[in-house]
């Protein structure tokens, strides 16, 4: 716990589905269901999973951008969910987010410099001149030019906007950045430059990342450890190389087998999953993956598997994986 910058314990986020004439809650979408993980200082944790599995909701709930249903989050040994609004405001300086969509993450009516210095203004940091100086330095740091501060977002390309989004997070000198699919909306050539920038910044500023993505190769590139999510739960969490070389959970195995090999003579045995992801408002009983699992047994349909450390440092939630 001492080295852990962020500890997430049994985080749960349900969204109500309202209906009927009285708008009563009829059901819940179990977007995030009992998610636990820890991140050490300076580490990058990748969170992968398909659309709608709760990756982004996890990130947003940690930041208190959306209220949690239950669970606890410790950041820097402070219980985030019990902080008052003024304490939370203070701690927001250390906790930043980079968004997926570089088009909607910047206010189209605000010049870039204003957007970037907004956090500084809100926290009363520096005089206007000093803030302009910080904006200029940060813009240069992320590979843009100081005079770009006077332009509007529409004058930039997607990759440049993403750099602006990164600059906005950086001005606060954060400890932890939640990167919510920061390169998913960019084309491949731009992806790598933005990823390299994130890498460099981590080294320079000692940043810790939660890196959310659905692209396995991107996550492999940047993460120290990787968590695989399926239908609101983490099914496997392991150091990067362990996960890629020795995936334990059948879902992870299927996911990894879908990565194309850039060599036409090599063939990988692909595991094709049948059917669709079940609805998060009506998840199957037992193991959430049993409806599509190629190796499911009877027990999987009844018993929810625990998320356990099966091998040292390698957590898996599956009945069929032996504990060593």
């Amino acid at each position: 716990m001492k080295n852990d910058l962020l500890v997430v314990e049994n985080l749960v986020k349900y969204f109500p589905i309202r209906g009927g004439i009285l708008q009563r809650v009829q059901n819940w979408v179990r977007a995030v269901d009992n998610v636990s993980f820890t991140i050490k200082k300076g580490e990058t944790l990748g969170l992968v999973g398909e659309s709608g599995c709760g990756k982004s909701t996890t990130g947003r709930t940690i930041l208190r951008l959306t209220p949690q249903t239950s669970g606890k989050v410790w950041f820097d040994n402070k219980d985030l969910f019990s902080l008052g609004s003024s304490e939370m405001k203070k701690i927001r300086r250390d906790l930043q987010i980079i968004f997926q969509d570089p088009y909607s993450s910047l206010d189209p009516r605000m010049i870039v410099g204003e957007s970037i210095s907004e956090g500084l203004r809100a926290h009363g940091i520096g005089t206007p001149q000093e803030r302009r100086q910080i904006v200029a330095e940060t813009l240069v740091r992320v590979g843009l030019r100081a005079e770009h501060a006077r332009r509007y977002p529409h004058e930039f390309s997607g990759g440049q906007r993403q750099r602006i989004g990164i600059a906005r997070a950086l001005t606060m000198k954060p400890k932890l950045i939640i990167a919510d699919e920061p390169v998913s909306a960019l084309d491949v050539s731009i992806q790598s430059t933005v990823l390299n920038l994130l890498d460099e910044l981590q080294e320079e500023m000692g940043l810790t990342y939660v890196f959310i993505a659905h692209d396995l190769s991107v996550v492999e590139h940047i993460s120290d450890r990787i968590g695989v999510m399926y239908l609101g739960k983490i099914v496997e969490l392991a150091p990067r190389d362990d996960l890629f070389n020795d995936p334990q959970h059948p879902y992870t195995q299927a996911l990894l087998s879908s990565i194309p090999i850039p060599n036409p003579h090599k063939r990988r045995k692909r595991i094709i999953l049948e059917g669709d992801v079940p609805s998060a408002s009506n998840p199957p009983p037992g193991c959430r993956f049993h409806t599509r699992c190629p190796v499911a047994v009877d027990r999987c349909r009844i018993d929810m598997p625990d998320f356990e450390e099966k091998i040292a440092g390698h957590f898996t939630a599956c009945h069929l994986v032996e504990k060593i």
Binding site: I97, D107, P108, R109, A122, H154
Partner: protein, 312 residues
């Protein structure tokens, strides 16, 4: 894509710098709108600087020179381009002063209702939940009030109110402005609420929140500037609406009180001898007609120019 998404996308992809040019080009293509804008400009120019050049005051009466026709000279040698009214006051002078009041009422009501409606709508849409429910029920309540009877009652009650710091003859004007704005802020409130409901889900709002920016700052620095386009359109249309309602009230005798002239109460005065002297009613009538029509055309044109998909 839903309409909201399309609107959001349109907002995000519009070119900022050339936006004025684009809007202006689309606006002038709309002939009637341009004509409206020109008419409004001429009217404004006339009522603002016109009275300076008139040799009479709007209260000056020439005894024995009542109801002179156009282009006539009274027995004291004074020339009256449009003639005089039933008390021997110069008609053109009164029309110009009346225009000042009528247009000022229109702009003031529009300004007040927009500010009030914008604030209520933005707060309501941004916070949602109970705040939103309560604010919107209040809006519904205000909308169900039959405005004419209420206006009549209110203006009678408030007719003799003394407002410190405001000259006696202006109190009825101020009262009318406050009543009209108090009844008509619901339109802009709903409009802005709708915009804010979709804007607050945009990632830039979340980014500001994550930076620790206060709700007030997010509302006034992000939500409202991004809803400016429909606000401008609705406030333009509101000017015309306010002028009409003010003249209806004044026509019924419950609006701005004499001797302060407005187009509405001039029309009302002309009513008694309408058949004998139709011109007395025609002048203010035509001016009301022109002003309201111009604002409506300009507002329509502005709406089409700013966002062709926007319907209000």
């Amino acid at each position: 894509m839903t309409v909201a998404e399309l609107q959001a996308e349109a907002l995000l992809t519009t070119e900022e710098e050339s936006q004025f040019v684009v809007i202006w080009r689309r606006f002038i293509r709309h002939r009637m709108a341009l004509l409206g804008l020109i008419t409004i400009s001429i009217l404004l120019l006339c009522v603002i600087i016109g009275p300076v050049f008139m040799p009479y005051d709007y209260t000056d009466q020439v005894k024995g020179a009542q109801r002179l026709g156009p282009f006539s000279t009274d027995h004291l040698g004074g020339y009256h381009v449009l003639g005089t009214d039933e008390l021997g006051r110069d008609l053109l002078t009164r029309l110009l002063y009346a225009g000042r009041i009528s247009l000022a009422v229109g702009f003031a009501v529009s300004f007040l209702e927009t500010i009030l409606g914008m604030t209520v709508g933005a707060v309501s849409g941004y916070y949602g939940g109970w705040t939103d429910t309560i604010a919107m029920r209040i809006v519904d309540l205000v909308l169900t009030i039959p405005s004419l009877p209420l206006l009549l009652v209110m203006s009678i009650i408030l007719r003799n109110v003394e407002i410190p710091g405001i000259p006696r003859e202006w109190t009825s004007v101020v009262v009318i402005v406050v009543i009209l704005a108090g009844l008509q802020w619901t339109g802009p409130a709903r409009l802005v609420r709708g915009m804010v409901l979709s804007l607050r889900e945009q990632e830039f709002a979340e980014a500001s929140k994550a930076l620790g920016v206060s709700d007030t700052s997010i509302i006034f620095r992000h939500m409202i500037p991004n809803s400016m386009a429909p606000i401008i359109v609705s406030s333009t249309l509101a000017v015309g609406g306010a002028i009409i309602v003010e003249s209806v009230l004044s026509f019924l005798g419950f609006g701005v009180q004499l001797p302060t002239p407005t187009w509405g109460n001039m029309l009302s005065n002309a009513r008694t001898d309408m058949l004998m002297y139709p011109l007395l009613a025609l002048y203010p009538g035509v001016l009301i007609f022109l002003a309201v029509l111009s604002f409506n055309f300009a507002g329509d044109g502005l709406r089409d120019a700013i966002d062709p998909r926007l319907k209000m």
